[in-house]
């Protein structure tokens, strides 16, 4: 069956900041408990996480080849505001790419993968991202996490072949304090999954307790997408569990992949190759941020309006979208120079016509920088860097997520989409640099 699609690549984005359940317990004077979650910085949301995961997944694929984009999230910053289309633009996918979005249930990421495998608009990119927040002080606070994963599907040998797929549906309420009810749901869904001679399993369920119960019912060596370290990442978690499986399984192994949610999605996979690891390294790069107040401040920055007076111009964003979102620069036909900013004249030779748009590299080197201590930010100082992009072009951007002492002239960075500010309640996105 030459037209049978395979998983061609898969990548995870797990943010570095870690909050332990123990730190939360300390803040509330409760007895210590186990577990931790990861969280993204104040300037991230589902869209920025999705963009990063997708960019990692497309490292060896030209964006112009992608024919379909399936996107899942339950936490888009706004309900209907071209989120998937912004993602496509940030990835510089062609305008002809087919887009479908999946939300409204935890199984969205798994369902999107199923659709990508069955609908032959290949190569198809599946991206799922969630940024989940439970009420402060609740038990659920460190059970939920922030993360994204992307899977590229199409004909070829790739990383894994899908031997079978099974779906069931039922309206299950997972947000209940009744731990025994949750365990019962998870065990029941897991017990019904076909094994087909699998030696191991990758399991996702809406929380660590549910996932452990499902794994117990399977009675197979199971990995949980590191849920006890990073928290349950919503629609992204089934794909994160898949990435973890692909990174740790041996070629030739047969594995069960199970999603327990509003019903179940399960597949048996024949592993054929190992991807470039993105999940494992992200797990190792934990940066404990266990001052509870700092986590709260970081989390609520955009929600509580603590940002400086926002300013934005939807007209400008639209006009310069090729640069601002697609990160395309201008090449001057007269002198050959590549410029980052859109301008009516070449700053180098003065030509006023003969410009073409060219993709700018998303990797570069810090030429100079400063740490701004008086710029309003939930995590001061704001580091600003002049970054020379590989292959031409320079940008002035904020450096995200970095400890100031790690920033150096000559440091290698890559660009990542972040929320720059809010304008009238609307997030405005632009690129920031993160240290490689």
């Amino acid at each position: 069956m030459p037209d049978t699609p395979a998983i061609l690549n898969a990548a995870a984005r797990v943010p570095p900041f870690a909050l332990s359940a123990e730190a939360v317990a300390r803040a509330y004077g409760r007895p210590p408990s186990r577990g931790a979650r990861r969280f993204a910085a104040y300037d991230e949301d589902a869209l920025t996480l999705a963009t990063d995961a997708a960019a990692l997944c497309l490292r060896a694929t030209a964006p112009s080849h992608v024919r379909a984009l399936y996107v899942a999230s339950t936490t888009w910053p706004r309900a209907a505001a071209a989120q998937a289309e912004r993602l496509a633009a940030a990835l510089d996918l062609p305008p002809s790419v087919e887009i479908a979005t999946f939300g409204g249930s935890w199984r969205g990421g798994a369902t999107a993968l199923h659709i990508a495998l069955t609908r032959p608009t290949w190569p198809a990119l599946v991206v799922a991202a969630d940024r989940l927040t439970a009420p402060p002080g609740s038990e659920r606070e460190t059970e939920l996490g922030d993360g994204a994963a992307a899977v590229l599907v199409g004909p070829g040998t790739g990383l894994a072949r899908i031997a079978s797929w099974t779906s069931t549906s039922e309206p299950i309420e997972w947000e209940t304090p009744d731990a025994r009810l949750i365990a019962t749901h998870a065990s029941r869904l897991a017990s019904a999954a076909p094994r087909d001679g699998c030696a191991r399993a990758a399991v996702s369920a809406p929380g660590p307790r549910a996932a452990r119960a499902a794994a117990g019912a399977l009675n197979l060596p199971s990995s949980l997408g590191a849920m006890e370290q990073i928290g349950f990442c919503g629609t992204a978690h089934p794909l994160l569990a898949l990435v973890e499986l692909l990174e740790t399984a041996r070629p030739g192994e047969r594995a069960l992949w199970l999603t327990c949610a509003e019903g179940s999605e399960s597949a048996t996979l024949e592993i054929t190759a190992t991807p470039t690891r993105t999940f494992g390294p992200a797990l190792e790069r934990a940066r404990p941020m266990n001052e509870y107040g700092r986590w709260l401040a970081s989390r609520s920055f955009f929600e509580n309006g603590a940002t400086a007076n926002a300013f934005s111009s939807p007209a400008l964003e639209q006009r310069d979208a090729d640069f601002l979102m697609r990160l395309r620069g201008t090449r001057c036909a007269s002198c050959g120079a590549t410029h980052t900013l859109p301008a009516p004249a070449c700053p180098r030779c003065g030509a006023s016509e003969g410009f073409t748009r060219v993709p700018l590299s998303r990797a570069g080197t810090i030429f100079t920088f400063t740490h701004e201590h008086y710029v309003p930010s939930p995590t001061p100082p704001v580091t600003m860097a002049v970054v020379d992009l590989d292959g031409g072009g320079r940008l002035l951007v904020q450096v995200a997520d970095a400890a100031p002492d790690d920033v150096r002239i000559g440091a290698r960075v890559r660009l990542t989409l972040r929320r720059l500010h809010m304008g009238g309640g609307i997030p405005n996105y632009y690129w920031k640099a993160v240290l490689e």
Binding site: A308, N309, F311, S312, S313, L316, D320, L324, H339, T340, L341, A343, P347, R348, F367, T368, F369, T370, H371, E372, H373, Y374, V375, P376, S377, P381, V382, M384, V386, D388, G392, G393, R394, L395, L396, Q398, P404, I409, L420, H421, G423, N428, Y430
Partner: protein
């Protein structure tokens, strides 16, 4: 255009936090001092250029020449508002000079006014940079950061140190102790500079000029008319250059973050007009645009006071302090006088004029015959240099 102009009178308000005085009060005071020196009154002014860089930082004054008409009680003449970032005052002077040399008028007034402290410092120019620049390209960048990136680059390239930066602040604060019109007149130590709060690494609070109110003015006439006035000072050269747009230095990899092409270009023009080539030989004092300590050091090189990479040595060796071989910022500079943006360029002209007249009191530089003023505007893209010469 040929010929030269002369300063018939110069005026400057005390620089500081004038909570009890308005934009128009300050403008009037500076103009009246300048006119009084020239023996003129407002009605003699035939045209004026009013420099205010940021009228929209809370005061809404200085958006047009109208505010000078109100300050002087003198209407019915052309008054043009000039805005060119921190080179605003210099550009006002340049435009006034050109109108004289074109024969449009016989007595012209160049005025710079900035009323910044009707708002808290963090709500004035900092807010302007943080919130109302380009919504994407500059977000997170302040004026201090704009030049801190030069300091970072020079630390890497030339071994510049935070102590070198602090030495500039120490020197200029020591000078300001002798200037009754300076905003901050208390000397500081290097330890205090280094220990003051970090603003934009590696620049601390005392590496930065304060947020200040003030105004300065000069009455200009053609050189041939100058001898009719009691204390004229010749404007021997004016250089002005815009080297790029605002965003370009940060987005064009040719820019080296070492110096400012606009200042080098302006210096070249001004020196040529003045018939000089080596400022270390030809002038006895220099006023440079030390909005941040790093800017003074860069100015040494852009003005040709030393070779590339040697600027820190000049301040370390005491060459540029009062009593040194070539005093720089004898009035205390922007670091101590403050930087009411539109007024600064003309405050420096006022300072050099008083030195050349032998009227600089405690900080008088013996034998001052010729001096330079220099401004840098925007992200370093606007450069102004003037050469002033002692009474004819």
């Amino acid at each position: 255009m040929t010929g030269r102009v002369a300063i018939a009178g110069a005026g400057c308000t005390p620089f500081g936090e004038h909570f009890d005085r308005s934009y128009t009060d300050l403008a009037a005071e500076a103009c009246h001092e300048a006119l009084a020196e020239a023996g003129l009154s407002p009605k003699h002014v035939e045209a004026a250029w009013l420099g205010t860089a940021f009228p929209d930082v809370g005061v809404y004054r200085g958006r047009s020449g109208m505010d000078l008409a109100e300050s002087l009680g003198h209407a019915g003449i052309p008054i043009t508002r000039v805005s060119n970032y921190c080179a605003t005052g210099g550009d006002a002077l340049r435009n006034a000079a050109n109108a004289l040399l074109a024969g449009e008028v016989n007595v012209a007034l160049a005025v710079g006014v900035e009323k910044q402290r009707d708002r808290a410092p963090q709500e004035s120019i900092v807010k302007l940079m943080v919130e109302t620049g380009h919504p994407f390209y500059q977000k997170g960048f302040t004026a201090a950061g704009t030049f801190a990136v030069f300091a970072a680059r020079r630390m890497k390239e030339h071994g510049l140190t935070r102590e070198d930066l602090a030495a500039v602040s120490v020197k200029n604060h020591a000078h300001a102790a002798r200037n009754a019109k300076a905003h901050h007149r208390k000397p500081v130590t290097a330890e205090q500079v280094l220990a003051s709060p970090m603003v934009a690494w590696p620049l601390t609070l005392l590496d930065c000029c304060p947020t200040t109110d003030g105004a300065a003015a000069v009455v200009l006439v053609r050189q041939e008319d100058a001898r009719r006035f009691p204390t004229p000072v010749l404007v021997a050269g004016i250089g002005f250059s815009v080297s790029s747009g605002w965003d370009q230095p940060f987005h064009d990899e040719r820019f080296d973050f070492i110096g400012f092409p606009a200042v080098r270009q302006a210096a070249q023009k001004a020196y040529a007009q003045a018939g000089m080539d080596d400022p270390m030989k030809d002038v006895q004092l220099v006023e440079v645009h030390d909005c941040f300590s790093i800017n003074e050091l860069i100015a040494y090189e852009d003005l040709g006071l030393c070779k590339a990479g040697e600027c820190a040595r000049l301040v370390r060796d005491g060459v540029t302090r009062l009593g040194g071989r070539l005093p720089v910022n004898a009035g205390g500079g922007l670091l101590s006088c403050g930087h009411p943006v539109g007024a600064t360029g003309l405050r420096m002209v006022y300072e050099v004029a008083r030195q050349l007249q032998g009227a600089a009191g405690d900080r008088q530089i013996a034998g001052a015959r010729q001096g330079i003023t220099q401004n840098i505007g925007g992200p370093g893209a606007v450069g102004f240099v003037s050469v002033l010469r002692a009474p004819l």
